[in-house]
């Protein structure tokens, strides 16, 4: 049976902000102990009970929206506040497929059979009574028909932003 784990690294936009790393597969009752992706020594990730939802690819290559749901805890609120409402924070999402042919379920019992890495930019956050939702979009947008010559230059778009808000000039 395939086991699917998500390892995320969230970096707030502010200069000098602390990079946060979480994984949602290997259970711990608190944010320690830290574990690495099986088969590697670093970086280390803390357990957090989050889930990732949303599209990861689309035929037209448009910016994809991905939601990361955290439980509504003081820790989750702090995560949003540090990231200025998750505006323009960066997220690396590693989807790791794990195999386990043993009878036990310790991290060392798993082997990575495949992994996919995606990069996203924060576009905001929202709260409900039980969850905190961090919303992200893919960092790169497709080249659209209304972009001249199918290429970006500083002359026709200005300084390239990290998200898809490109204005033609």
């Amino acid at each position: 049976m395939i086991n699917i784990a998500h390892f995320i690294t969230i970096t707030p936009k502010q200069t000098g902000a602390i990079e946060r790393r979480f994984q949602n597969f290997f259970y711990a009752s608190s944010s320690s102990p830290l574990i690495a992706v099986p088969g590697t020594a670093s970086p280390l990730y803390a357990f957090a009970p989050f889930r990732v939802e949303g599209a990861t690819a689309q035929l037209n290559g448009e910016n994809e929206t991905v939601q990361v749901l955290f439980p509504f805890t003081t820790f989750g609120v702090r995560l949003v506040e540090e990231g200025d409402g998750n505006r323009l924070s960066r997220m690396e999402l590693r989807t790791v497929w794990l195999e386990n042919n043993k009878t036990t379920s310790e991290p060392s019992d798993y082997l990575v059979s495949a992994q996919y890495t995606d990069f996203y930019i924060g576009v905001g956050a929202s709260f409900s009574d039980t969850t905190i939702e961090l919303r992200f979009k893919s960092a790169m947008d497709s080249v659209n028909a209304n972009i001249p010559a199918l290429s970006f230059t500083k002359q026709n778009t200005g300084i390239l932003p990290l998200n898809s808000d490109i204005n033609l000039r």
Binding site: M1, N3, I4, Y27, S29, S30, F47, P49, T73
Partner: protein, 138 residues
């Protein structure tokens, strides 16, 4: 977090926890299963304490009304599994208590408020349902 009162139930049902697995079933009935975690959760223990004394009922009442127990969960004593043994007690790795009540990552919560049925003067039958969950406190 205060442990559940050390009482011995007259009836007990234990349901093992479920694995964090999602299942896709195709139209022809074939299934594909994917796991999203490495620990089981949602153990259930249903207990009936028949014709127990008022003092024992009050212990359960007080335990249920302790806010810490509702918020943070609690441990259950080995007396709840009275009749079974630990590995150490029987000298063989066969004791059920060593399995049910030694899962370090499981915290117990009330599934629903306990019910008290009066049976005779100062005697009651109390029913309690507990869930063993993977608790997270960052």
């Amino acid at each position: 977090m205060a442990a559940f009162p050390s009482l011995r139930p007259s009836q007990r049902t234990i349901s093992m926890g479920q694995a964090p697995i999602k299942e896709y079933r195709a139209l022809n009935g074939a299934i594909v299963r994917r796991s999203f975690g490495n620990k089981r959760f949602g153990y259930v223990v249903e207990l009936t304490f028949q014709n127990i004394a008022e003092a024992s009922v009050s212990l359960i009442w007080d335990h249920y009304h302790d806010n810490q127990n509702l918020q943070n969960g609690f441990a259950i004593p080995d007396s709840i599994f009275s009749g079974y043994s630990t590995d150490e007690a029987i000298g063989r790795p066969e004791g059920l208590i060593s399995r049910v009540n030694r899962m370090g990552n499981i915290i117990w919560f009330y599934i629903e408020p306990p019910s008290i049925e009066s049976t005779e003067r100062s005697r009651s039958t109390v029913q309690v349902r507990l869930a063993g969950e993977l608790s997270y406190a960052p």
